[in-house]
Symmetry: C2
Subunit: 215 residues, 2 copies
């Protein structure tokens, strides 16, 4: 349960330095406030060098945000333990992920998600969908894709509200209470019963279910 080790892997020192600088810049100035020139300035190199390494601003920032995550590996961690407490474990894991004092990278991710639809797509495809998908596929009795989507929604907004936007109530809540409350809600999303359609729409539900195709 130590996300930090997964992201960092050897790369050329200059490249590494530029990415670190970019992460700092994103945190301090926001995604769009970060410039190639600023990253170069902070690193003490020429702006064109940044472009030489990354080709474009977007590519630099994508790499600064992406890191190297294996969501399925994380999902396996979560799935080790009682299925009835998977909600709590997800919340605990994500809080640890975001609050990891050893690195600012997880917050870079959150901040960037808010600032750029591109990065949001990246987060979605590279982490959120496979992570929650793997968990729901294992523990959810029916319509796992729907349950994964709902659970992912809750966790993403929890992170954004608490760490980025600073929504008053969620920011002040203690970790333990969050785990309890959000964990329970998540658990219901994943393994609780889904509300049933009241009229004769079960056909539509069944169709939606079989026709579900992530694209």
């Amino acid at each position: 349960m130590d996300p930090g080790t997964v992201w960092d892997q050897p790369m050329q020192p200059t490249r590494r330095m530029l990415i670190d600088a970019a992460q700092q810049e994103i945190l301090e100035r926001g995604y769009h406030g970060t410039s190639l020139r600023g990253v170069a300035r902070r690193s003490g190199v020429d702006p064109s060098l940044v472009r030489h390494y990354f080709g474009s601003k977007d590519e630099l920032l994508m790499q600064a945000v992406q890191g190297h995550i294996d969501p399925v590996e994380f999902a396996k961690e979560i799935l080790r333990g009682a299925p009835g407490a998977v909600g709590s474990r997800i919340v605990r894991f994500m809080l640890g992920f975001w609050e990891d004092p050893a690195s600012t990278k997880s917050l870079v991710r959150l901040v960037s998600t808010l600032n750029s639809p591109q990065i949001a797509d990246l987060m979605k495809d590279a982490f959120i969908v496979p992570f929650f998908g793997a968990i729901a596929a294992e523990v959810s009795p029916d319509r796992p894709e729907l349950r994964a989507a709902l659970a992912a929604s809750q966790m993403m907004t929890l992170g954004l509200s608490r760490y980025v936007l600073g929504a008053p109530t969620l920011s002040r809540m203690e970790r333990q209470e969050l785990v309890r409350i959000v964990g329970r809600s998540l658990q219901r999303c994943l393994t609780g019963p889904l509300p049933e359609a009241k009229d004769g729409r079960s056909g539509a539900v069944a169709a939606a279910r079989t026709g579900e195709n992530h694209g």
Copy 2:
């Protein structure tokens, strides 16, 4: 339940034209892709005129996004009806808000929220907190601020996932099914029992509302 009428109120025609142009630009090019010069170009005026009216780009975009909303008025609409179905009514209302074909303004708001922390703050303070706060204050038996925060989280991410990011599952779900599923979850947030602390900290004014919830 017609959000559109609340936003529009008389203002100088040039100002109005510029704001409309800004909203279009935001929708087409994204928040940061929108420029004073682009708005001026679209409106056929000099870029400096835009600055004369709004002072800065941020101010223009804030006004283009803000409109004139009275969240408490909306909350009153929601509160008219059975308290046990307030969750469904919120979802139905918000979906109508976002999908209103008569105007693109609600989507401008969503898109902008994703793109700029400033706008996100505005949305939070001017709409989300008072809207959900007013509802929770009326229907939630205990800790209404916490319940409002949780409910707001769910709705915001539903909107972002469905309309902006295009998360696969949530985007394809039918309106009716969303109302049912998310509505029920919202209802639980607002009026259901909260999980109790093990050290007995939060006296979850228990029982009372066992009819609607317990997923």
